[in-house]
Symmetry: C2
Amino acid sequence: MTRFGAVEAGGTKFVCGVGTGPDDLVTTTIPTTIPEETLERVAAFFNGQSVGAIGIGSFGPVDLNPSSAKYGYITSTPKDGWRDTDLVGAVKRALGVPVALDTDVNAAALGEARWGAAKGTRNCIYMTVGTGVGGGAIVEGSLAHGTAHPEMGHMRLPHDFEADPFPGCCPFHRDCLEGLASGFAIQQRWGVAGDALPLDHAAWRLESRYLALAVANLACVLSPEVVILGGGVMMKDGLLGRITSEVSELLNGYIALPSIVMPALGARSGVLGALALAARLTCLNG
Amino acid sequence: MTRFGAVEAGGTKFVCGVGTGPDDLVTTTIPTTIPEETLERVAAFFNGQSVGAIGIGSFGPVDLNPSSAKYGYITSTPKDGWRDTDLVGAVKRALGVPVALDTDVNAAALGEARWGAAKGTRNCIYMTVGTGVGGGAIVEGSLAHGTAHPEMGHMRLPHDFEADPFPGCCPFHRDCLEGLASGFAIQQRWGVAGDALPLDHAAWRLESRYLALAVANLACVLSPEVVILGGGVMMKDGLLGRITSEVSELLNGYIALPSIVMPALGARSGVLGALALAARLTCLNG
């Protein structure tokens, strides 16, 4: 069985892996420093390993347009030193194998669709709720890109200023989903991190409301079979159940309630999704 | 060149057509009465015409799941007499040709993507704003269905009750997009139909706001190249321009502004989309 390489490229760490799937995957973690150093260490990890292709799920924005001159680049990121980094080119040059790239959230969606909570579905959404909020989608079996890539975290939702006077903290849109419901928003609104707040705190009533509105809207637009909610904020015990019952109320029987679940692959959705990207690329294994 | 048949099945009329495309299409209009009579007249129109397949774009909800026992049926519609009508079966039995079915809005999206305002794009959305609000999407070249089909008209949007005390008129969700921005909502809010209200009336400030929020959310979720806005409400001169500039403000340079346009096929998006469904089905012509 052909082995593949996987890179989950994040703003604080790069998780690299080699293997064939969830039961056969060796990973290593490399801290994200400057691009040259980080990518050299990525190359060193894969060097000498025989892999058919490497898949990368990356933080962004990334240029995914195959006909663009900057295809495979991390583009206008605010992350120090990483603007205009040729991620695909660097890996390809260092290792001489085919390289597939997608967003970190699309990779996670693909990982969960191949081996995890959305196995066997052709329509699913992966939303991560951490410092920021992002989302990836598989629609009729294809990863959705559009002209750039989805930015689900920036959709606008009802915001009841009486119940929640916090103005929102998105620098671009103020009270979009990310501006109201990200981990950063919780921290800004209450002055402490979410994990310091008990489930009966008002913070979680707002949080489940906003995330339920987001999931309901995604259900209206894409009618997914499964919506996977990952990221640090979702680790709060009891939050998932609250969101599910609020989504059910919001859809009110008119629209099919998707199955709303946590990632079955845990913290490995992204790196396994990157592995699936590599496998799909070569068509040897996927 | 193989000719195809097309049916745009609506709640007030069925538009039937035979031809090969926009420059070669003969249509007839049949009023929607009871299913038996209406479908008999549809069959009579096609009888003796030599068509390779028939495509239907229908009002709904329709069952589009090929493995369902009720595939091809109009299901739980409130329209008198039409509940549980076997649309595909009736046409297939009467005419003995392959029949393709999709929603009216997906058909319109496909028509515009094949011959109209979204020609050549792989990611576009068609939204109709009439008595109700509906939407169809093409994602990475495929019509999006999901587990049922999109119900974009029912997404939740910010509703500023001070600027707009109208509670919304959707029987399922009250102030969802359809409940706030459909032609019926305009009529209910102001006591007159939209076309009686001049463009400087407050009605259109609200209307452009809600539709811009909807388009911005769709841009966040799907990153479409083109968003086509059709339906009676969109006939208001000047409305499209207002929506476009509000979407641009809402996205604020962070997310690619899609091209926001009216249907290039005018009132024929639906019937031509149904024709494209037929052509795709046989793969003889599409």
